[in-house]
Amino acid sequence: MLQLWLLPAALIVTAVLVSIPLSKYCAWIMEGQYRPLPGFGWIERKLDSGPQDWKQYTAALLIFNLLLFVWGYVVLAVQPIMPLNPRHLGMLAPTTIFNSVTSFMTNTNLQDYSGDVHFSNFSQIFFTISNQYISAAVGFCALVAMIRAFRGEQKVGNYFVDMWRVLIYMFVPAAILSGVLFMQQGMPMTFKSTIQVATLEPGAMGTDDKGVAKEQTIVFGPVAAAIPIKQIGTNGGGFFGANSAHPYENPSAWTNFITCFDMMMFPFTLVLMFGRMLRRVRHSIVIYGVMLTLMVGMIAWAIYFELKPNPGLTAHPASVTYKIPSATAKGGFRELTIPQVAGLPIDQHLGNLEGKEMRFGIVAAPTFAALTTAVTCGAVNCAHDSLNPLTGLSPMVGMWLNCVFGGKGVGMINILLFLIIGVFIAGQMVGRSPEYLGRKVGAREVKLAVIALLVHPLMILGTTGLFAATSWGTKAEFNPAAHGFSEVMYQFTSASANNGSGFEGLGDTWGFNDNPNPAPTSRQLDIAAGLVMLFSRYLPIVAPIAMAAFLGMKKEAPSGLGTMRDDSMTFYWLLLGTIVILGALMFLPVAALGPLADHWGPMPFGG
């Protein structure tokens, strides 16, 4: 039993150990104390357009993203006429392009397409890979700008230099290291597009006219270039539709470990970097502790419930009768009897094996699911739709909170929103007007924090409500009732959290523009999710930077016995309580309607 917990324990210990020195390195780079590599100094001087205040920095960030959008749209639109396309793949539907471009610009990497089916290597290289590097650096830069603003600096750095530092001194070396390890484990790295192989079982792909067994065509390409940054940048946009469950994208148990570690590396590190750059390491350790507590809880929850049998496949030995209040029925109650159900003849003593990649086993899947959603990566190595309903709650909670380490930079920014609100409300209980980092938190700062926090529930709940009640959602669900509700709700949760993992079980793929038989409401899903990603990405970046700037402008007062300590156990409970209570208040009703109803409900609701 103990060995089940070995993988998650090893991952967390490794990530914690690496984050300590790495945070020092990151702070050193971002403070600009390093000496540029030969030749790079010239580029950096060219990039450096001078120190920017927070407005200029934000404007540069937004304009840069706008250009990224145009670039992505053009690359995908011209796919049919571009090289590296031996399969002559056509153009995707415009809404799918909109969704994908938004998705890869916002670091969401929700894929309403399938990489191996719909993308040529040209699109993989110039869209998937390049965008995964760039969009990942944006959140990182936003956090660094916020830190400098918190320090009271008028000029919060130069956006372009920051992007360069993150990409060249952090992402590229880390990605090269991981890529080499992946290739050693058998991950393909080639410009070729497909490979023909004889199947082990003769004729598995059918036979030709002469009765000769057909060969299987397997799509591949520069996979080892895409996967490291997919994980390190907490992007999650897979080369293949099956993402990290695909043998080329995740060849072995060893790559599965590195894959998991890669996505944890920077989110863990940035919390400590925050503390180092602010010279408040103890404070950042408290935040780190809160995140770690939640993460351990979510992983343990996921593994625990995934080791239980799938309730949809087990027997309901007795029929159950529910009394439902109803005005039309006699006595005001209607009776609903759920008949007894015989279990399917399936051995479930290992837990729920449905939708698992059996090479990795029963623990690697829920571990991966909990991690990928907590750190807003969105890569998957199992079918989330097939997770037990309560297991599925863990990834959902990760995305609802969106600050359990979270994406690089943005996760830290998100927890600061909870923190500011917690400090503002509960911090007054020390008998002083609320302070953070020695500065008084006033109306303007709280307003900005709350705006940034409100976007997330608005985007998730509003769109889920819209799609749940209309045929836009009900026609797209693969399952009825509570599970179908989860499918819709997960999609928008993932989009709003800029996570990008798919629960799936939702008809959201139109495919090529000339697809005669697309999923009926995929256009609506493409556009709605695209808009959700846009709003949920940029408002929660711009508002917190403004908040940090306004807070930083205030006078810093020294802390004393009468001021609230931000590095104590009390503060740990304050922050943890704020996150748990606010999170529950925002999302408990949908949790009840989705996974909880799914779990407690009898067939067919559990099905």
């Binding site: 005005a327 509960a426 007054q428 209980m429 020390v430 020695g438 709350v450 007062a557 309580g577 109803a597």
Partner: protein, 721 residues
């Protein structure tokens, strides 16, 4: 005293004896005194006006919800529409929603009524009183106090009421200020110096003074104060504005959470109906508008929204009960944030005067002999120091005969030239006491010398922070009397309390650094400024503020005015000069310098109460979800009953219980809002931990019990089907 004799006497006849002004009864009103409650209830109904409610967005949403539910009920009556739940449920729901609004209004109205009651007692002192205005040199005319203008000079005699705020320009009088302070002991007010300020409405008990009026009618401190506590000019403080903004945002948040529940519930209904093969639509409470309104009302922070205004008013009110007139609510709030307090040594940390504490004889003399001679030299000395020398001698076994001047003795009073005082006995002995240098000169003139141990003794006393007073008998030095500063009783505890609050205390004194350091150490202040001038005081405040600290100080003199204005909290003594009172942002009616501690505590309490009730209000929501969510979907997802950990009777009773709890908690918390959460100087971390446990964790747990209890009561009373 020459001037006083020249004051023309007002015509005897016109001094009409007036009924004694009753002292202000500060804490007269019980929390729910009926004379306050009745008008507050009436006011609660009047405040239902939408334009009044609009100012409090949280309660405005509740009012809109109540109106919506009312319309829904009317529509149900008119159209006889059939619902899945009886109409009585909607009526009960609406009743409690309206009650929620009324409870909130009542809390505010009650706080205002208490403020008005305080103001009323102040106003009693504001009745028109006749004033005797000096017109020209010797002419006096009687005018009404309402007609007095700044610059007018009035004569006030014993028994008369001072007609307006002003400063004594001639004379000295004992004044009964109980009308404003509630303190029955009279105080001395005199021209010149820092105790020249008098307040209109107070009564002169003895002597006769000329007062120059400094504030026009309606602009005096009392007038401004009355306006302030009555709420007429109540302005919301920055912190209150920020908090109400957050509350509005939370309201928005819960609207965002609840509105999408309607289509989500519809989804469940449609599926369930098709699963059951029903032809008519299946209805659950999840798509029932009044129920969703109830859910919004339960979730939005109504508790703190209802009490926020009351907390602010009550903070001002508590300051007033401590006899502190704050010029704005902001000043009270700022007091909670104070990092440094500047305390004057004299009068705040030490008694106003030095006391004789020891006799140190030199040469052949004994301590008893020194005591007798020192006492003898002090018989006629009416200064406090002189009196304590006599008392110390008596305490140490001296007989009353020692301190009786023999017939024919001649007293030599203190003069600035000689810096000595004493007595010439009939037998020709000259006994003197005075500054050591003066005494040495005195004995040297008579060819005497001071013994060798004299100077070291004098120096040692200085090092201890005390003042040496040498005594000579003719040409011989007898010894030194030690005059020490006596710390006020309890001052060390109070300073310790400040320290535990995290507030640094700084002693301000004109003494030399050596003396100052000794007293600072004895009293336990954190820092001191010695040989302090008003300029140095101002500079010190500025230096602390530049470090981001908030500074409070007390002052009474005109030369304190710049520092009072510069300080974040400037507490002026009511006895102080007009300039000081104008410059500060608070006035202490009792003129008690240690009041600063109370001010800081009141400020902290105000902030804490807000934080505690907000935390409580939001923590409450968790339990409400567990009551309401299963109830909403009882018709479509009956298995969610598992979530109903409170095992409530039925869906409608669950929702009603949550709404009733939400409403009832408001009046239950009114006492805490008005009295404030108790502040204990534990240090921020311990205080936060304690309050998080009580208001955070307690706020999560309590409603589970409360909602269950209400549900049980309703079931027991057959109030619910």
């Amino acid at each position: 005293m020459e001037a006083v004799k020249n004051i023309p006497t007002p015509p005897e006849l016109k001094i009409t004896p007036q009924a004694p002004v009753p002292p202000r009864r500060s804490r007269a009103h019980a929390l729910f005194a009926s004379e306050l409650v009745r008008p507050a209830i009436k006011e609660a109904f009047l405040m239902l006006r939408p334009d009044v409610q609009w100012r409090n967005p949280v309660m405005f949403v509740v009012e809109i919800g109540s109106v919506l539910t009312l319309l829904f009920i009317i529509q149900a009556f008119l159209s006889q529409s059939v619902s899945q739940v009886p109409i009585s449920y909607f009526i009960a729901l609406d009743f409690w929603l309206w009650l929620t609004v009324l409870f909130a209004n009542f809390a505010t109205a009650l706080a205002e009524a208490r403020g008005r009651a305080q103001a009323q007692s102040l106003r009693k002192a504001r009745k028109d009183t006749p004033g005797y205005r000096l017109k020209g040199k010797d002419i006096i005319e009687e005018v009404s106090s309402a007609d007095l203008k700044p610059g007018d000079r009035v004569v006030v005699e014993a028994g008369q009421i001072i007609p307006g705020d002003g400063e004594i320009i001639e004379g000295l009088a004992s004044v009964d200020e109980s009308a404003i302070t509630g303190e029955s002991a009279p105080v001395i007010r005199e021209s010149g110096g820092d105790r020249s300020g008098v307040t209109g409405g107070t009564r002169v008990l003895s002597d006769r003074i000329i007062v120059e009026i400094t504030a026009a009618t309606g602009e005096s401190f009392l007038d401004r104060m009355i306006a302030l506590v009555e709420g007429a000019v109540r302005q919301r403080t920055p912190n209150e504005i920020a908090l109400s903004l957050v509350l509005t945002a939370f309201t928005l948040l819960f609207v965002i959470v609840v509105v999408p529940l309607w289509p989500m519930a519809l989804n469940a209904e449609i599926y369930m109906a098709s699963y059951l093969g029903m032809t008519e639509p299946l209805k659950s409470l999840g798509t029932d508008v009044p129920t969703l309104v109830a859910l919004v009302v339960c979730l939005i922070p109504t508790t703190i929204g209802a009490l926020l205004a009351a907390i602010g008013i009550a903070g001002m009110d508590r300051a007033l009960q401590a006899n502190i007139l704050a010029k704005s609510g902001k000043a009270v709030e700022t007091a909670g944030d104070i990092d440094v307090v500047l305390l004057d040594k004299t009068g705040t940390i030490t008694m106003g005067n030095r006391h004789a504490t020891d006799f140190l004889p030199v040469g052949k003399y004994t301590a008893a002999q020194l005591g007798r001679l020192a006492a003898l030299a002090s018989i006629a000395d009416q200064t406090p120091e002189g009196k304590t020398i006599v008392r110390l001698h008596l305490d140490r076994g001296g007989t009353p005969a020692d301190v009786t001047a023999p017939d024919g003795a001649q007293f030599i009073s203190f003069s600035a030239q000689t810096r000595m005082s004493g007595i010439d006995l009939p037998d020709g002995r000259q006994i003197r006491k005075g500054a050591p240098e003066a005494i040495i000169r005195f004995v040297e003139r008579q060819s005497g010398t001071a013994p060798a141990e004299f100077q070291p003794a004098v120096d040692a006393i200085g090092r201890q922070g005390a003042t040496p007073l040498a005594v000579a008998d003719g040409a011989t030095v007898v010894g030194v009397v030690v005059l020490s500063d006596i710390l006020k009783t309890g001052i060390s505890e109070r300073l310790e309390r400040l320290r535990r609050m995290g507030v640094r205390s700084v002693m301000i004194t004109g003494d030399n650094p050596l003396t100052a350091a000794t007293i600072a150490k004895k009293a336990g202040v954190d820092d001191f400024v010695a040989q302090c001038t008003p300029e140095a005081k101002l500079a010190y405040i500025r230096k602390e503020q530049a470090d981001g600290k908030l500074v409070a100080m007390i002052g009474d003199g005109t030369n304190d005015a710049p520092a009072l204005a510069q300080a974040d909290v400037g507490l002026a003594m009511n006895s102080g000069t007009q300039a000081a009172k104008e410059a500060g942002n608070m006035v202490d009616l009792d003129s008690n310098p240690t009041k600063l501690l109370e001010v800081v505590e009141i400020g902290k309490q105000l902030l804490m109460t807000r934080g505690a009730l907000t935390t409580f209000s939001i923590a409450n929501d968790v339990a409400k979800y567990f009551a309401i969510v299963p109830a909403l979907f009882a018709g479509t997802l009956p298995w969610l009953k598992v979530m109903d950990v409170m095992h409530l009777h039925s869906p409608t009773s669950a929702i009603l219980s949550a709404v009733i709890f939400n409403a009832v908690i408001i009046p239950l918390l009114i006492p805490i809002a008005l009295r404030g959460v108790r502040y204990r100087p534990l240090g921020a971390d311990a205080l936060l931990r304690k309050n998080l446990l009580i208001w955070g964790l307690g706020g999560v747990v309590l409603p589970f019990a409360g909602i269950k209890l209400i549900d049980m009561i309703m079931v027991a009373g057959h109030l619910i089907s």
